[in-house]
């Protein structure tokens, strides 16, 4: 017995390792992939800007709608993309601290009027200098970028660097990935790309040679100084301020999935965990019903096939089993929807969904019978899909397991002591041959998750599978990762559970 306990201990120890390997793989792939949330946002902005420009009948080429560098940095920090992958992964996991920013509300400010007064004064001073600096800057055609002053490329400068400009503009029009490469190339030459403008840092000589530039740089230094003052003031209360004037209370804390923080979904703008837990019961409902139906069909069929092994019943139902092998579950759903979904043939089932619209109101109105009927209506097709998906393998498993038991010594003994055939088959042999099927219940959870992608998409069931599929298409990282986390945990524990059940109900099984 002790061997078995070490076996299960080892299996359990392997769970975290497996979990970390898989989630890290997915995390890294997601981070390395082009087309992250920021680029998607930019694409959206570009698309909407193009639409507006087209609507106005105006020039399409001239619109500059990229995010400016300040906004990009801020967004990167928001999505935790500014950290290197391993650190970001550990933060996501919750074993490495991360800055947690929470906006300071007005009520909170009212609690400490003196402090916030001084903060407000400090902010006003900063804004003042910033405004002055901005107006001066615009007048002199200088662009601020990062820590340095830059010349903005205006029309005359474009004439001075014609070839460079033409080449860059051609590249620019080719989309975000080219844009990034272009930026790297420009960096090497001292140029900077901001939006669709090209800028070059001013040399000290250039700055000092022009009076207005010297004044401007002095103003810039002053502006930065005032902002630092403001930050210094706030940092005493562990707070931060953004250049847009919003205040955050910063807490450096462990906040990852271990603490139950899965991040906010990009598309639903809700807590990822909440989104998932809403979908979970729906998947479980369909999966469970499908699994029960599979049992109800496969176990009697398997028994029948085993009892009449090589008989007429066995051979004729083999055809069904082969067909079951040859048809994936989602294809069966699709066929059923075509035939019964009210297209060219009969209109018996709805074209998908979990329940009809207005189900909740019916329930509140007490129309329970309508509700139940509607639910059954929506359940039929997915259930059929789940049944077809595991029909063949389960029937064959049942049959083979029963046949193996027919050859066992205890069956011979039972016959020898004169028990009737029915009793031997249905009581003695059947009980033992149900063991592998019962043990498979652990795998069932894994099947719900893996098999549900396709069936949920075809039947338009708003469960885990459809959520995972859509989050991949929309690049909703927190949701993708949360789905992976749940999927892996369920699968791993399910497998161990299966083995454990097996060992528990069948004393002959010994793992080592």
């Amino acid at each position: 017995m002790s061997g078995m306990w070490t076996y299960f201990a080892r299996r359990l120890l392997l769970v975290p390792v497996t979990f970390i390997v898989i989630t890290f793989m997915v995390y890294a792939v997601l981070r390395l992939a082009p087309g992250g949330p920021i680029e998607q946002l930019e694409n959206q902005m570009r698309a909407s800007a193009a639409g507006e420009a087209g609507g106005g009948g105006g020039g399409l080429g001239g619109t500059d709608v990229g995010l400016d560098e300040k906004a990009r940095e801020e967004l990167k920090a928001y999505y935790n993309l500014d950290q290197p992958i391993p650190i970001a992964y550990l933060q996501w996991l919750g074993v490495y601290p991360r800055k947690d920013k929470k906006p300071v509300s007005l009520q909170q400010r009212d609690l400490e009027p003196d402090f916030w007064n001084s903060v407000g004064q400090s902010w006003d001073r900063y804004r003042d200098i910033e405004k002055r600096f901005e107006s001066d800057r615009v007048q002199s055609g200088i662009e601020i970028y990062g820590e340095k002053l830059h010349i903005e490329i205006n029309a005359e400068d474009k004439a001075a660097y014609p070839q460079l400009m033409v080449q860059f503009e051609e590249l620019l029009s080719q989309g975000p990935s080219v844009r990034d490469r272009l930026k790297d190339a420009l960096k090497g030459q001292g140029w900077v790309l901001n939006g669709s403008q090209f800028m070059r840092p001013l040399s000290d000589v250039e700055i000092n040679s022009v009076n207005s530039l010297t004044a401007l740089s002095a103003l810039y230094v002053e502006q930065e100084q005032s902002f630092q003052d403001l930050e210094g003031l706030l940092s005493t209360r562990s707070m931060e301020v953004s250049r847009r004037g919003s205040y955050f209370r910063v807490k450096v804390a462990f906040s990852g999935i271990l603490q139950g923080d899965f991040g906010r979904s990009f598309t639903y703008n809700e807590d990822a965990l909440e989104v998932i837990t809403q979908k979970f019961p729906i998947s479980i409902y369909f999966g469970l019903i499908g699994y029960l139906a599979t049992w109800l069909i496969c176990i009697p069929l398997g028994i029948g096939k085993a009892v009449h092994h090589r008989g007429l019943f066995d051979t004729s139902t083999s055809l069904l089993v082969f067909l079951g092998y040859a048809t994936p579950g989602f294809v069966a759903c699709l066929l059923l929807l075509v035939v019964l979904g009210g297209g060219s043939y009969w209109n018996l089932v709805p074209l998908g969904g979990f329940r009809s619209e207005g189900w909740e109101t019916w329930w509140q109105q007490g129309q329970y019978w309508t509700c139940i009927k509607d639910q059954i209506h929506h359940t039929l097709v997915p259930m059929f899909g789940y049944v077809v998906g595991s029909f063949a393998s389960m029937t064959v498993l049942m049959k083979n397991s029963l046949l193996e038991n027919f050859g066992a010594d205890y069956v011979r003994t039972a016959f020898a002591k004169g028990l009737p055939e029915r009793r031997v088959i249905y009581v003695h042999a059947l009980r033992n041959s149900l063991i592998p099927i019962t043990a498979g219940i652990g795998h069932f959870f894994g099947i719900i998750f893996a098999g549900s992608f396709l069936i949920e998409k075809v039947c338009n069931i708003p469960g885990m599978g459809l959520l995972g599929y859509e989050s991949i298409i929309r690049r909703d990282y927190p949701i993708i990762l949360a789905t992976v986390v749940f999927g892996v945990i369920i699968r791993l524990t399910g497998n161990i559970l299966s083995d454990f059940i097996w060992a528990a109900i069948d004393p002959r099984i010994r793992f080592k």
Binding site: I22, F322, L323, L334, L337, Y345, V411, F453, K457, R475
Partner: protein, 568 residues
Amino acid sequence: MSFILTLLVLVAGVLLTQKGIPWLFKALMSLVGVKVKSSPLTEKRIRRFKSIRRGYYSFVIITSLFTTSLFLEVVVNDKPVMIRYGNEVAYPAVRDLVNTWCFFVEGPLSTYDRSGDFGVLGDGPLDYTEFSKMVEQPDIAFGPIALEQKQQISDLELEIEDIQLEVDDLESDGEEPEDWLVEDLKAARGQLQKLREGQGELEAIEAVFARGDAGVLWPLYRHGPYKNRLDLPGTAPHSPSLYIPGLTPKSQVARLGETIGVNYGGRPGVRVEAFSDKGNPQSLETGTKFYVVQEETVAGIVLVRLVTEDGQSADAEVISLTPGATLLEGSRLATRFLDTWEAPLGTSDAGIDVLPLLAYGFRVSVGFSLMVLIAGYLVGILAGAVMGYYGGWTDILLQRFIEIWGSVPFLFLIMIVASIIDPGFWVLVFFLVILRSWMAITYQIRGEFYREKARDYVQAAIGTGVSDMAVMMRHILPNSMVPVISRAPFSFVTYISSLVSLDFLGFGLPPTDPSWGRLLNQGFQFLTTSPHLVFLPVMAMATTLFLVVLIGEAVREAFDPKVFSRLR
């Protein structure tokens, strides 16, 4: 005729697969110096396999279809196998075939034929359909062009005559004709000269076609999986012209009457008359759509709008007209373009013929699964052999690795990767092998090696100093192939389903490649209107997989029979 040809092609496929390839294999082996000799046990198993007829016949069907499909470009294609014009000969479909098989280089052969070389004026790519028409009916194809040219020439001649008269008049009056008049005359004469030359050229070309000095040899089915069927009227997806219960409208024929004055929103109206081949015309019904059949092709579609009381004639609206066609009075109308053999299986949502899509999809699916199977089993056998043979830490580490790797949600991961990189055929094969298929066989091979290693013959081989690799490959492996062979067909089924699922979700092969899964997806989008896009790929897939399962059943029965003793 085409039916007989199809049969011939299939018979050739069967013969090639069942007799040709084994013979070729043996010949090659004997050339290299390896004598292929199977052990009596293997021969017994093969005999047993052949005796299970449903499995054996499935094997013959699947393998023959697959070998035939390797030459699909010359059987089903929108390009002719051969075109000939005078001394010029080209093999467009054969070039396609070569290009397909040389996938590792970027299109080694050009798929371009210059029009000018094949008797069609101009430098653009040759339109094979047009060329084919010219070969088959030179007078009809050439008639309009030649007539037009003749008309132009006679017009020009009249004009020249006019100008000449004017000039002559002026000269006879003793005046000098104006400069522009002389210029005109010169230009017109030059143009006439050119036109006459052109006419000469055209006549020469026509003569070549009329002599029968040009030819075209089409594949069995004239449409390919890449080009959409612009020749069909109406909008894609088109319903199949073959009968599918509940989907294809009931068969009815009628005759096209004269054009009537009624105008349906800018579209002309026509009279339709009930008509029947058997002399018992069915009465017409409002809303029936008729295809206008002319010379075995479809010239347009008309929709019945207003039926007379006796139902024997009706007003109809012309909803669509094939470009270049005119509606001729007395044309045959049919509710299905049934006898025309136009798109017997309908078209996809992009208007691509479904029949070639299914055929090429078969090749892609089976080829894909074979690749995944072979590559995965090679890796799996290697890993299993190492685990079982060396044991110890190698075994334990690899076991743990497989346990971890096996828990990777592979469909999910492939979806994520595919949403980023748009994988091609080989990338998908690679991912499926790496993420899944190699693990299918590893544990069984490990077990076999573990057991075999303890046997005396292996210990003897090791004792005589045979290298590890040789022991594994030459001594143990041949004795552990049974689980590999008996599992293979079932793995094969899984891989085909995987490819179809991925394609269905839109994360599979590139969108231009023909695939069953994408067709299914289109069927899913047109669920209520175009069920043939679901039925046909499902039928193709289910039939293929069913046959493979039958093979698998028979192979298992023959190689790894489970003998159940029933006590009583």
